[in-house]
């Protein structure tokens, strides 16, 4: 049994995920963590902290070995590490919704302080790809930015949605680090510098990522899932009703391979084997875990695993000695194995007895109602499932439909569907009332996103009066574009927007792709190329046309730029296309984007004006205060009163100004996000190299504020015509 080698109780709260250990003076490891009221505390148990004189750092009134750093804004991310290799000690990096601060704790000075418009939700420090100097990479609203130690912006790219987690990991095994980005649209993207090399779709927001070793990395989702990926393949995952607050890779059993350490919201810490997910160690804290880090906190040459709880409790664990065979739990392995085997035996015996009873039941009289009560059904009962598109009625919106029916007079008592990402929870239940029971059930399914989903069905089959039911388990896949119904072409409603590209595939293969990704009626018969198919979206009634010419030229007409991107990406992976240049035109969307860009400019100028106003007002404020105090000293109560009245009014103005600034800022952020997303979408219309080219070119166009070039790039894929 592994016991903590040290336990500390700090009287400061710790904000989840914002804990880092760094050697800010080059030798002594200190723990830095974000706490309440926009402060960061630094726990330094090794040297009596000198009395800092600067305004930013103050001594904590509660503990002598804790100093507080005033950020005056809610901290949104925090890390520590070597930013300037020449300096020889670690820097502390603190991100907020508007700024990034690189701070030199030892000298009590700022290394740099940069304004970041997209905010900093996540931060990671290290070297990326071929960029030689270490970068502090922050992820904000759809944007990624990397700064070197001088605050120079050396890396910038966009991603699909708000970034929630970042990690650096050698994903493709070339010795250089790639950037893993987990974002709000459930995707983990891998950036090789600014090129996306891989994309994995998960089932919830990715809250944490951590590199394990080699190309392996751990991840955590907001629904309580943690797991391990090796490259694109998921090794294992487990789901808990609690949330994983922090994950970290650490070799706790000294077998040379790091385990995935997870800190949970219920205060549990567990270490799981990277290969199987089997728990090899666990411990409990009285409150939620805020962060899991590692460091040589006792300065004895051994690295410890350090777990912090939100209430400020800190425990350090040394890796177990190698000779205990990886067993860190207190019960003996043999005992557990024995119990497990015995349980297995018991299960098999039970199953055997079930079959015996079954044969007994078989030999008895023919089926009667009484048998139904005991749950006896004809052995040849089969379950049919069918997926189709339902165009809906006045009372019900259009949806995809899953029909389940039994092959005889047995009834379906209930259907449980376990599928991720398409229901509110992880499951959906259909439980008809007793007088509505029948042998078939139709379940409407409306996936919110165009992703293929596996539906795991559990159907309870029996008779009306049964108290025991048979459970039929089967899995059906919902195709990616199940929310589009085949309709008859009507040229008048053809969308103006289109994408146009050429692929070297036979038309039959395109038909196969169609039938795998859409819910086509069974009698659909598609003739040879050229042909065209028309679909109607069940979500908003939008039209989708796919036309193919004998030359292999494909035109997709839709007003939905995301859908066009999804279709291209899906085709590219189906036909294994590596590079694809696409010509695209989305007049409506581009017009909207143009408006957004104009608005961004407006908001920027408003922002500047408001800032200037505020500076003026604060000057005035100071003057008024001095005057009022003067009046008070001179016992001129009337003037004092007037001054204070003025002060009060001014204060009100300032508050109002602040509110305007706030709403202006949120608007700005929303618009910036739209711009970033537009670039991302333009990229998604292409595959491979053209994709990176488009993103880079768009970024340059935005930097140089050349809107017309931006649209040309989005249309044809390159800046030069």
């Amino acid at each position: 049994m592994l016991l903590p080698i040290f336990t500390l109780k700090l009287r400061h709260k710790i904000i989840p995920r914002m804990v880092a250990v760094g050697r800010y003076d080059g030798t002594h490891p200190c723990l830095a963590a974000a706490t309440q009221a926009g402060k960061v505390f630094i726990h330094n148990p090794h040297t009596r902290s000198r009395n800092f004189s600067a305004s930013r750092v103050i001594q904590s009134p509660l503990e002598s070995d804790v100093s507080l750093l005033n950020i005056n804004q809610a901290v949104s991310c925090l890390t520590a590490g070597v930013l300037n290799p020449q300096l020889g000690y670690d820097a502390l990096l603190v991100g907020t919704q508007t700024n990034l601060l690189a701070y030199d704790v030892y000298n009590n000075s700022d290394l740099f302080y940069r304004e970041v418009a997209d905010g900093a939700n996540a931060i990671v420090l290290g070297t990326l790809g071929d960029i030689s100097s270490p970068l502090a990479i922050i992820g904000g609203n759809c944007a990624l930015q990397g700064f070197d130690h001088e605050g120079n912006d050396l890396f910038w790219t966009v991603t699909g949605d708000n970034v929630h987690s970042l990690a650096l990991c050698d994903f493709d095994g070339d010795g250089k680090k790639e950037l893993l980005v987990g974002s709000e649209d459930f995707d983990i993207r891998v950036f090789k510098e600014d090129e996306i090399v891989a994309e994995m779709t998960e089932t919830e927001i990715i809250t944490s990522l951590c590199p394990m070793y080699g190309s392996r990395f751990g991840y955590a989702l907001s629904n309580g899932t943690v797991g391990v990926y090796d490259k694109m393949a998921r090794y294992w995952r487990i789901k808990s009703k609690n949330h994983a607050m922090s994950i970290h890779a650490f070799d706790l059993n000294s077998d040379g391979v790091p385990e995935l350490i997870t800190g949970w919201s219920n205060g549990k810490v567990d270490a799981r084997s990277d290969r199987t997910g089997e728990v090899i160690f666990k411990d409990n804290f009285p409150s939620a875990i805020a962060g899991v880090v590692e460091g040589d906190y006792r300065m004895d040459g051994h690295t410890q695993l350090i777990c912090c709880s939100v209430d400020g409790e800190i425990r350090g664990y040394l890796p177990g000695p190698t000779d205990i065979g990886g067993n860190l739990m207190d019960t003996s392995v043999e005992q557990d194995l024995l119990r497990e085997l015995s349980q297995k035996k018991q299960n098999l015996l039970l199953e055997l007895r079930n079959y015996e009873e079954n044969t007994k039941a078989e030999s008895s009289s023919p089926l009667s109602e009484a048998d139904g009560n005991r749950g006896i059904i004809p052995a040849n009962t089969k379950l049919h499932t069918a997926l189709s598109v339902n165009l809906g009625s006045e009372t019900q919106a259009a949806h995809a439909e899953l029909c389940i029916s039994t092959s005889n007079d047995t009834i379906i008592r209930a259907v449980l569907i376990f599928a991720e990402g398409i229901f509110i929870g992880e499951s959906h239940v259909v439980h008809p009332s007793t007088h509505n029971l029948s042998s078939s059930v139709c379940i409407p399914v409306t996936p919110p996103k165009d992703v293929p989903v596996d539906l795991h069905l559990k159907t309870f089959v029996g008779y009306r009066s049964s108290t025991q039911f048979h459970v039929f388990e089967l899995t059906r896949q919902l195709p990616r574009f199940s929310m589009y119904a085949l309709s008859s072409p009507d040229s008048s409603s053809e969308p103006l927007s289109y994408v146009n590209f050429i692929i070297a595939e036979r038309a039959q293969r395109v038909v196969i792709w169609l039938s795998q990704n859409f819910l086509l009626p069974e009698d659909t018969n598609i003739q040879n190329a050229p042909f065209q198919v028309c679909f109607t979206s069940l979500r908003n009634g939008g039209q989708l046309y796919i036309k193919i010419k004998p030359s292999g030229e494909i035109t997709v007409n839709t007003d939905d730029i995301d859908l066009a991107g999804d279709i291209i990406q899906s085709m590219a992976s189906f036909f294994a296309i590596e590079d694809l240049q696409v010509e695209a035109d989305f007049p409506a969307y581009f017009e909207e984007l143009r408006k957004v860009l104009v608005k961004v400019d407006e908001y920027h100028s408003v922002h500047q004006k408001l800032s200037a106003d505020m500076a003026d007002n604060s000057n005035l404020l100071r003057i008024l205060l001095v005057r009022a105090e003067d009046a008070r000293l001179m016992r001129d109560m009337k003037t004092m009163k007037n001054r204070y009245m003025e002060l009060y009014d001014l204060n009100k103005d300032l508050l109002n100004g602040y509110k305007i600034r706030c709403s202006n800022h949120t608007e700005l952020l929303g618009n910036l996000k739209a711009v970033n997303q537009a670039i991302q979408r333009a990229g998604r219309l292409r595959v491979g190299k053209p994709k990176t080219q488009v993103i880079t070119a768009c970024r340059d166009a935005i930097r140089s504020n050349n809107i017309n070039t931006l649209f040309r790039i989005m249309r044809v894929g390159t800046a030069s015509s």
Binding site: K13, Q36, A37, K39, P61, L68, G224, K239, S240, K241, N266, S332, E334, L337, L338, R339, L341, S342, Q343, K345, Q346, L348, L349, L350, E351, L352, N354, Y355, E357, N358, A361, E362, D371, I376, I377, P378, A379, N380, T381, R413, L416, F418, F423, I424, G425, E426, S427, H428, V429, H431, P432, S433, N436, K458, F460, T467, Q468, F469, H470, V471
Partner: protein, 672 residues
């Protein structure tokens, strides 16, 4: 002194009922004892442990489920005759496994509890108590509510025969012959009785009881009146008590109290100077502990606590140290034994797996033919649905002999499912279209591997009634599920009590009409929990209830043709009136309903609610302030500048937060 116990699993039998495992007294030349256990397949098994391995002494053939197992024998000799209760029959076996007695009682119901003392046999079915002497009927008693356990004080120490029945309606009934001597009210429905120290203590009249809501107590039952000695409340919200034993596991010459609970908790209490119990040791075994006894089974010279669990595991918690601390040679030997055990199990498994595969194929083939039938394998589910007095919510506990895969909870009344710390299953709420399918709640619990026990917490609203259904699917092939139904009654938050405050202002609802006693009783059963289903004997009856949430009370007195319900809470009366008239209309019975509304009662009830509401509001306000105050504390360095009220909040912060956490949404519930 610290108590260190190490777990050793001996073997697994079928599913066991409460109190079905005993240790045979040690014979003269051997110090280790043998274990005898009866399971629900009807098998009685006796085994000893040799070198860590269980060696069977005898094993009977399967039969009806065994409800109880006791040891007996001629008084003042070793009690080594084995008696089992199965169905309505009592069987006796010698310690070698020879059956010497088969006694078919004339009870129509199956036996639920049994106690043996010399040639006296005390039996109880659901409501009936019978006393036999040398298999001859002596005494008989019909209890007002279900009998959970039965015991009799040692006849060799007391000059009289005093059987005590533990009844579901929170009373212990002390009998004399066929007559009730008196009733003792206990804080919860008693589930188990045991003699203090194994012999009734110094007086021979000391009785231990355990309740289904986890309380434990000691009462001295004298000839005239009961004397309550002590009581342990269930502060940690642990499970109900299923078995109690007294044994000196610490070796200090005083017997400790061993307790097994239905959430897998094994506890050891020792007694301090004032003879008050103190918890010395606890360990959890993840499934219900059905029987517990102290003795020496595994190794000569090391005492242990032997427990049996619901799924049939016999496990020892032994004082013998784990092999790591023993000598180097011995460790090897034990490891060797372990290895042998594992390899023999493995080969057995392989054999079984092969057999199962064959059978599975056969089963698959049979599904092709049109005539064949497919039966659902039955599995037993141990379920409990009880009202917690402390937070006025229901606990639903489901336990299956194998691992649970998932549980679907469906309800046709609006209820809230609360989170329980102990349960690790992933819950997912499904949307429900309530109008067409009568679903107000659909939720699935997907269990983690090896979960055999699931605990849920449910909050109901008084006045809205219906059924809650749980579909339990375990991880066995072929996959099946079992439905269990639980009634949510109209006055679901009421609890039976035996004394009420008669001075409160009461509203009265009087029913008269052409209905029988059984009919009016069935209506009361329909409305209120904890009422025996069988109509009580006699002309009429009075039950008292207390509202666990608001502390209001209800008195119901009824007989043939008349029912009178009195409560200080007017909404209780109105709910009763609605439900009763609906029920009567269903049976086409004409009811005359008259009320007597006491205006003072409204004020009185509001006064009852007021302090609670105020307290909760204040608590909520204080908890809201904690974070802000803490921030100030960090900012300013000390708390001297705060007013005393705020300083007080800061000091009590942890306590306040804990209390607030304990009663989630209590405030909203009071608002209604």
């Amino acid at each position: 002194m610290d108590l260190n116990l190490n777990r050793a699993d001996y073997l697994q039998v079928g599913v066991t009922s409460q109190k079905t495992m005993k240790l045979l007294p040690a014979s003269k030349h051997r110090a280790t004892q043998k274990v005898v256990i009866g399971d629900q397949d009807g098998v009685v098994m006796c085994f000893g442990v040799k070198k860590g391995e269980a060696v069977a002494v005898f094993k009977t053939l399967p039969g009806q489920k065994i409800a109880r197992l006791e040891l007996g024998g001629v008084l003042n000799t070793p009690q080594e005759k084995i008696f089992i209760a199965t169905g309505s029959e009592i069987r006796g076996f010698t310690k070698r496994g020879k059956q010497f007695l088969s006694f078919e009682t004339n009870l129509t119901e199956s036996i639920k509890a049994m106690h043996i003392s010399g040639s006296d046999l005390f039996l109880s079915a659901s409501y009936i108590y019978n006393h036999y002497c040398d298999c001859k009927d002596q005494h008989y008693y019909l209890s007002g509510d279900k009998i959970n356990d039965i015991i009799c004080f040692p006849v060799e120490r007391l000059p009289r025969i005093t059987p005590v029945l533990a009844c579901q309606d929170r009373v212990l009934r002390v009998l004399q012959g066929s007559d009730l001597m008196y009733e003792v009210e206990v804080p919860g429905p008693p589930t188990v009785l045991a003699l203090y120290n194994g012999n009734g203590g110094d007086s021979g009249e000391d009785l231990l009881f355990g309740t289904s809501d986890g309380k434990l107590g000691l009462i001295q039952i004298t000839t005239s009146n009961p004397i309550h000695k002590w009581e342990i409340r269930n502060e940690k919200k642990r499970g109900g008590i299923l078995c109690i034993d007294s044994f000196d596991i610490m070796g200090d010459g005083v017997k400790e109290l061993l307790v097994g609970r239905d959430d897998g908790m094994v506890e050891v209490y020792s007694f301090d100077n004032a003879n008050e119990p103190v918890l010395r040791f606890d360990q959890t075994l993840s499934e219900s502990i059905t029987s517990i006894q102290g003795g020496c089974v595994g190794k000569d010279g090391y005492d242990e606590i032997v427990v049996s669990t619901y799924s049939g595991w016999v496990t020892g918690l032994t004082t013998e140290p784990v092999h790591k601390e023993s000598g180097p040679g011995e460790e090897l030997k034990i490891n060797q034994e372990m290895q042998n055990k594992i390899s023999s199990l493995r080969s057995e498994l392989e054999h079984l797996q092969y057999k199962v595969l064959q059978e599975r194929e056969k089963y698959q083939q049979s599904s092709q033919s049109s005539k064949a039938k497919s039966a659902v394998p039955s599995f037993s589910v141990n379920d409990k649905f009880i009202l917690n007095k402390d937070d006025a919510s229901y606990s639903l506990i489901l336990e299956v002999q194998t691992a649970i895969d998932n549980v679907l909870i469906q309800s046709d009344v609006p209820i809230d499912l609360l989170d329980v710390d102990k349960n690790s299953a992933v819950v997912s709420f499904s949307s429900c279209d309530s109008e067409s399918n009568d679903n107000f709640l659909l939720a699935t619990y997907r269990c983690q591997a090896n979960t055999t026990r699931l605990e849920l917490k449910i909050r109901s609203i008084e006045g809205q009634y219906g059924t809650l259904q749980a579909y339990v699917t375990p991880r066995i092939q072929p996959k099946t599920c079992q439905v269990h139904q639980y009634q949510i009654k109209p006055l679901s938050l009421h609890q039976r009590t035996h004394f009420i405050d008669h001075d409160r202002p009461m509203n009265t609802l009087t029913l008269t009409g052409q209905f029988s006693f059984a009919e009016v009783h069935s209506w009361v059963v329909f409305c209120l929990p904890e009422v025996p289903e069988k109509p009580p004997s006699g002309e009429g009856v009075t039950f008292y209830f207390q509202n666990t949430f608001l502390d209001t009370q209800l008195e119901s007195t009824y007989r043939k043709g008349e029912g009178v319900f009195k409560s200080d809470n007017i909404s209780t009366i109105s709910i009763l009136k609605d439900v009763l008239s609906k029920e009567a209309t269903k049976r086409k019975i004409n009811l005359n309903i008259s009320y007597e509304i006491n205006e003072v009662s409204v004020k009185h009830t509001l006064k009852l609610i007021h302090p609670k509401l105020e307290y909760q509001l204040l608590l909520a306000k204080k908890v809201q302030l904690i974070d802000a105050l803490k921030e100030l504390q960090v900012h300013e360095g000390n708390t001297d500048f705060l007013i005393p009220e705020y300083r007080c909040i800061l000091e009590e912060a942890d306590h306040l937060q804990e209390e607030y956490k304990k009663q989630p949404a209590h405030l909203e519930r009071l608002y209604g």
